[in-house]
Amino acid sequence: MRFNLRGTWSIYVRELMRALRTAYQSILSPVLTTSLYFIVFGSAIGDRMPDLGGVEYGAFIVPGLLLLTLLSESTSNASFGIYMPRFTGTIYELLSAPVGVGETLVGFVGAAATKSLILAAIILTTATFFVDYSIAHPILAACYIMLVAASFSLFGFILGVWADNFEKLGIIPMLILMPLTFLGGTFYSIDMLPEPWDKIALANPIVYLVNGLRWTFYGSSDVSIGLSFGLTIAFLVLCVSVIAIIFKTGWRLRD
């Protein structure tokens, strides 16, 4: 046996079924939250805000809000996906099965990324009810969304392996990821920031993600699209490498 395709498919389907089982939490909740952002920042406040780079404020925040959801959902889906079997002890089955790092990643991370993509499609559809927006480079946007979903699902997987209690599981997304996303230009252009904050903001990696996605929507952004893609791919490679080391050493998985 080389690569256990059936094993991979089993993990993938089971993880997607888990999302369906918890549809209120994993699908409806983020859609509702994002809709509220659109209502408050897009419709209520957005009308009083100036256009940014020739884009209406309501439309300007669409990529940022989409990314906000993508990051948090990809991370939490994947981290819960691997943490729960560790917590309940059912990880024994995965570890004793003929599945390795490849099958596990494609199964867990693939399912988490798929859920995020489904969510992204729902959010983009929902956004049309609140703001007018268009996508300048739809194929690149789809590729970028997939790249971000996969990268942060991998990141979530690492968190799920690292966490040894529920508090740790939520601490990185809540205390690091969420603030960085809010400060990463989700609701504004970093050009609007006074010096030196506009320079300091460039140290925030989420700035490149938000602007990368914004570029695929409107053809302009605060940073180079090449840099955005390059950093996202580098993050993905870093996460894959960390996971490969985790499986090789058995850290937090095998005694």
Binding site: M1, R6, S10, R21, L95, S96, A97, V99, R254, D255
Partner: protein, 337 residues
């Protein structure tokens, strides 16, 4: 002693035999050599363990809590990373060809670890897929029926009793038709009826050629089912032997003969017997034999000799030592050493 066939309380459906386990293998199905596991804290859970398991046998691994039984199973199944040593299963080195080897190994863990929100049939079907097997509804039905789970197939696992949850774990382990099955305390915390059902099921699996390694605290379970027995303590295998050979080698007959009148010393006529006076001379205690029944014959001779010597007795209590006695004796012996 009852045979398995007489204790099965639930009619069992014969499991299909479609795995390569029918192959006659001359080499051990599992070969463990120099296996050592030292945990980060310094605890040596396994200490240079050598063990060879023959195809088709039921091997019982006995040992007190913390002896290293679960660590040994975990090392073979991929849950524990060995510190040293080599494990070969079906001729595959578990470090290099672990995929091929693991595909043929099943594990029923000690803990009731299942996805509580999943239905029985989905959980079992998932396990089959995880091990790379194509969906087979008929086989899943057979497995579930054999464990009396078919009627519960659409129930969530969280709604099942503890015994039923353990059956689900066994069904999951059997779903990919393993050739080598590890049962870690399979009957811990289950009622007598289920325990006997499981014994019958294990016997059925043996008949279809599955090699079974089980750990248990119930020595009678090992005595009932095992072909061979290994005793482990402090991470070291104390002895491994055929169960009957072990009973013959280490077994004893103990007879207590209550005398009508106490004796002050053992009479000359009885000097040849392995006896001693106990209870202030009111009782003769015989300890001898070899676990094959020789002791009982010797006790019969002893009683004849007593009569011939004019020594009257009022009661005889004869008992053969069980596997439990042997186990306790060996463990105590090692402790003393």
């Amino acid at each position: 002693m009852r045979s398995i066939s007489t204790i099965a309380s639930t009619p069992m459906v014969t499991l299909r035999f479609c795995c390569p386990s029918a192959e006659i293998m001359s080499e051990p199905i599992l070969n463990i050599s120099g296996l050592t596991k030292v945990y980060p804290g310094g605890l040596k859970a396994l200490d240079n363990v050598d063990l060879a398991i023959q195809p088709g046998e039921i091997f019982a691994l006995l040992g007190p809590n913390g002896a290293g039984k679960t660590t040994l199973i975990g090392a073979v199944c991929g849950l524990v990373r060995p510190s040293a040593g080599q494990i070969t299963a079906f001729g595959h080195d578990m470090r290099r060809d672990w995929r091929s080897a693991r595909a043929r190994i099943g594990l029923v863990p000690q803990e009731l670890s299942t996805d509580m929100f999943e239905t029985v049939i989905r959980a079992v079907s998932y396990s089959r897929g995880l091990f790379g097997c194509a969906p087979d509804k008929a086989l899943i039905e057979e497995v579930l029926r054999s464990l009396s789970l078919w009627d519960k197939r659409n129930e969530k696992i969280m709604a099942l009793s503890g015994g039923m949850k353990r059956r689900v774990l066994i069904a999951k382990a059997l779903s990919h038709e393993p050739d080598l099955l590890f049962l870690d305390e399979p009957t811990a915390g289950v009622d007598v009826e289920l325990r006997r059902d499981m014994w019958a099921l294990i016997e059925q699996m043996r008949q279809r050629g599955t090699t079974i390694i089980l750990t248990t605290h119930y020595i009678e379970e090992a005595e009932e089912m095992a072909d061979r027995v290994g005793i482990i303590r402090n991470g070291q295998i104390l002895t491994v032997d055929d169960k009957d050979a072990m009973m013959a080698r280490l077994g004893r007959t103990e007879a207590r003969i209550a005398l009508a009148e106490p004796l002050e010393a053992i009479p000359e006529a009885l000097q040849a017997f392995p006896i001693e006076l106990t209870d202030g001379g009111k009782e003769i205690c015989y300890r001898g034999g070899d676990g094959t029944g020789m002791g009982r014959a010797e006790v019969a001779n002893l009683t004849k000799t007593l009569i011939a010597a004019g020594i009257d007795y009022v009661g005889i209590d004869v008992r053969e030592s069980s596997l439990e006695d042997i186990f306790v004796g060996l463990v105590a012996e090692q402790e003393a050493a």
